[in-house]
């Protein structure tokens, strides 16, 4: 099986700060993979490198076999990758529908976009109810749904999600994760889930990577990682009841 996304020995620096030191990871077709780590461990930078939002100093980013290391974000979106940015980042002064259309910016097929708009409204009835409302006035959970739906509008093969549960009440967190799992099941879209809350992310992922200070510290299947005492040490701290 060829990998949908592959990072090979990726290095990123911000000035003198070496943010990523040789990160390698893969995401297969239709797979949910979680990328874990604490603050400033390099999760968001990895995400940026995947999406082409930061300059990769060394290493290769491959999307479905194609080397996209130096290609624009727009090119990568057309090639089948999309993203749910950290802290949602919906366009606050645009309506729900306009946000969804913005997600389909790279597409040329008007009819297909219209179909997908209808499909998003079916998938997320809450968004259908609020289609003419400004996105900034939605609740946190609704904004998260909108950000996910917007990412799906480009008909991606892989969606990268940067802490989709951040700042949500626990009930909503479960709802968002259920939604992600359902989309993966029903649409077959692969998901790279960047999370701080390891247990949450691993509950729906098949595999996971743990980043620490810009390097992959641990990797394995979700079950292996959940049982690995080192994950507590590296990431949650050993004082958590096992």
């Amino acid at each position: 099986m060829s990998d949908l996304l592959a990072l090979e020995d990726v290095h990123v620096s911000y000035g003198p700060f070496h943010a990523l030191r040789g990160v390698g990871l893969t995401v297969g077709e239709g797979e949910i993979v979680s990328l874990l780590g604490g603050n400033a461990s390099g999760k968001s930078t990895t995400m940026k490198a995947i999406l082409g939002l930061t300059r990769v100093r060394a290493g290769v980013v491959r999307l479905a076999g194609e080397d996209v290391t130096h290609r624009s974000t727009a090119h990568r979106v057309r090639a089948g990758i999309s993203s749910v940015p950290e802290a949602r980042r919906v366009f606050p002064e645009m309506t729900v529908d306009e946000n969804l259309r913005a997600g389909a910016y790279t597409r040329r097929d008007r009819a297909g976009v219209a179909d997908d708009l209808d499909r998003m409204r079916e998938l997320f009835p809450r968004l259908a109810e609020r289609r003419r409302q400004q996105a900034g006035t939605l609740s946190g959970g609704e904004q998260q749904m909108l950000a996910v739906a917007r990412a799906l509008m480009s008909r991606p093969r892989l969606v990268c999600m940067d802490e989709p549960t951040m700042g949500l009440a626990p009930r909503l967190v479960d709802q968002v994760l259920d939604e992600i799992a359902r989309l993966n099941r029903e649409l077959g879209v692969a998901v790279l889930l960047v999370e701080q809350q390891a247990e949450l992310a691993l509950s729906i992922a098949s595999r996971g990577y743990v980043l620490a200070t810009g390097q992959i510290a641990l990797r394995g299947t979700a079950a292996e990682l959940l049982d690995d005492p080192r994950i507590h040490e590296a990431y949650l701290g050993k004082a958590v009841p096992a």
Partner: protein
């Protein structure tokens, strides 16, 4: 009453068009685009050229003007703004002013500086409602503006590309992530803004009846204020700001006369910014995630200057030059020294407190007038008038600027620009004629009227200025002021009253600006308000950026290059302005921290 309202609407109409362009560009690039000013003058001159010279019909000339302006706008963005905005948005803003100067001067070379009578293409007073007279021309202007605004809002609301522009303005990173080509969106915004500027320029000349390459400046400045008033980045705000200013201005002029125009405009701006620091419809983030001003203080280390350089420079500049050089070089030298005094003082505000104040011409003018009036009418000695001029400049400029220190980011630059311009406008209102016969300084009964004497006086003042600024930098107070420029939020958390120290830094800079103004006044022996222009303010900023924004001695180097070299190369004034622009663009591009600063 109704007539005034209509006049206000027509003016507001033009301001709104220009302001929408400025706000549009600011929204997608976070850069205040002063080049927009030039498109007013350029639009007017191109329309004159096509209609009066080439004999084209107005309806053919108009789209041609728009196309030319749009093309130039694209060129400006590709060549200057976008490459610089990636490094420092604030530097990009300064270089847009340089671009504006270049465009104005190119236009002057092409069309000459004369005022041209704009052909009357449409009747101007053939209609009336009751006692109010107006013309088809007015209706067409309002109609075209209304159509353009409606078209723009439909495009932004329903068009795919229009939505991409809005998305980019609301969240650039998220726009990138959904695959919007942000670079193209920025180019397009520049194209639209420049075309709107050209259109507004055509309207100004239709309305006023004459056109001139530099006529864009006043209109441009007001349009810019309108954009800031509405909240930079907010297009609705720009339209509201444009019409509000147009109407306020029309009523102000009918009450107080045309000279009060700029004062009214900037007073409205400062009041609005103090009450709503983000403009009428703008928003300000609660806690700045990044220090706003700090980004301007380029990260770099001053080049190591060997110790022997200081005495060598002192001997060369203070002893060798005055006794070797001829009068021409010495006269140039006095200019270099005076600007070095002003700029070295300004490093405290721009370099340490991190406030890029754009209105230093204000305190310079206050110093010049104070010193001139004191010596001329009260027969005070120059040596007393000199420090008094500095003090008066510091006090008045500080009082007038005191409301603006809570204003953040670009807005504080805009507000200080407003205060500076308003100071000069008030002087123009009170003493429009200028002052002749300002007495030359005397020393022990001997008049110091030779270039050599002036040079020595200025060199002495510069030495004192450098001493004071150096002591200040090394003191606890200097470190506290620098902390304000580095990170306001962290400074507040350390108990540093950020606003107070910005005000103090500005007072120190205004003091030296006043001193510089006094020196200039006594050397020119004649002053009038046209000397103290926005160009003078920006020259001070440019000198400081050139040498290294926080290095007082860098100001001397900057002054040597920008004042001395330009003069000695005998550049004509037009060429000089173009050279300022190019030098600034090159410095910011290749040595963003200044000539004397090695970038990290």
């Amino acid at each position: 009453m109704l007539d005034t309202l209509v006049a206000g609407l027509l003016r507001g109409n033009v301001y709104a068009l220009g302001a929408v362009g400025i706000s549009l560009v600011f929204g997608v690039m976070n850069v205040v685009n002063f080049a927009q000013f030039s498109f007013f003058g350029l639009g007017a001159m191109l329309a004159w050229f096509f209609v009066a010279q080439e004999g084209l019909p107005f309806w053919l000339a108009l789209p041609l003007v728009l196309v030319v302006c749009a093309g130039l706008g694209l060129l400006v963005n590709v060549a200057v703004v976008r490459p610089l905005a990636r490094f420092l948005p604030l530097a990009a803003m300064l270089s847009t002013y340089a671009v504006s100067q270049i465009l104005d001067n190119a236009s002057q070379l092409a069309f000459t500086a004369q005022f041209r009578v704009f052909p009357k293409v449409l009747p101007t007073s053939n209609l009336h409602v009751g006692s109010m007279r107006f013309g088809t021309s007015d209706l067409v202007m309002l109609g075209v503006t209304a159509t353009v605004m409606l078209g723009m809002s439909a495009f932004l609301r329903y068009g795919k590309v229009g939505q991409a522009i809005r998305a980019t303005a609301q969240d650039q990173e998220a726009a990138l992530q959904v695959g919007i080509p942000v670079g193209l969106v920025q180019h397009l915004s520049f194209v639209i803004a420049s075309a709107l500027g050209g259109l507004a320029g055509v309207f100004v000349s239709l309305y006023v009846g004459v056109a001139n390459p530099t006529s864009g400046l006043t209109t441009g400045m007001t349009a810019f204020v309108a954009a800031a008033l509405g909240g930079l980045g907010s297009l609705v705000g720009a339209v509201v700001g444009g019409f509000v200013l147009g109407i306020v201005e029309a009523f102000g002029i009918s009450l107080a006369g045309d000279t009060a125009r700029q004062i009214i405009v900037f007073a409205v701006l400062v009041v609005v910014l103090v009450v709503r620091p983000g403009g009428l419809l703008g928003k300000v983030p609660l806690i700045a995630t990044e220090p706003l001003t700090g980004t301007f203080l380029g990260k770099g280390r001053p080049l190591r200057v060997p110790r022997w350089v200081w005495p060598a420079a002192f001997v060369l500049g203070g002893i060798v030059v005055p006794f070797v050089a001829d009068d021409y070089v010495l006269t140039t030298g006095t200019q270099v020294l005076v600007y070095a005094v002003i700029a070295a003082g300004f490093t405290v505000t721009a370099g340490q407190a991190g406030v890029v104040a754009l209105g230093q011409a204000g305190p310079i003018a206050i110093g010049a007038y104070t010193s001139a009036l004191l010596t001329l009418h009260l027969h005070v000695s120059f040596w007393v008038a000199l420090p008094v001029a500095g003090l008066v400049a510091a006090v008045i400029a500080s009082i007038l600027s005191s409301p603006v220190w809570g204003v953040k980011g670009h807005y504080v630059s805009i507000a200080t620009l407003g205060v500076g311009t308003a100071i000069v406008a008030v002087i123009q209102l009170v003493l429009p004629q200028g002052i002749y016969g300002i007495p030359v300084p005397t020393w022990a009964g001997t008049p110091l009227s030779t270039p050599r004497a002036y040079y020595l006086v200025d060199a002495g003042v510069l030495a004192l200025t450098l001493l004071v600024t150096w002591r200040l930098r090394a003191s606890h107070l200097g470190k506290v002021i620098s902390s304000v420029g580095s990170d306001e939020v962290a400074a507040l958390a350390s108990g540093v009253r950020v606003r107070d120290y910005k005000a103090l830094a500005f007072a120190v800079s205004a003091f030296f600006a006043g001193i510089g103004g006094s020196l200039l006044a006594h050397q020119y022996t004649y002053i009038d308000p046209t000397i103290f222009t926005m160009l003078m303010s920006l020259l001070v900023v440019t000198i400081v950026i050139m040498g290294g924004v926080s290095l007082p001695y860098g100001a001397v180097v900057g002054s040597l290059v920008l004042i001395g070299a330009m003069e000695l190369l005998r550049f004509t004034p037009e060429l000089r302005i173009i050279a300022y622009g190019l030098v600034l663009i090159l410095v910011v591009r290749f040595r963003p921290g200044g000539i004397l600063v090695r970038t990290a």
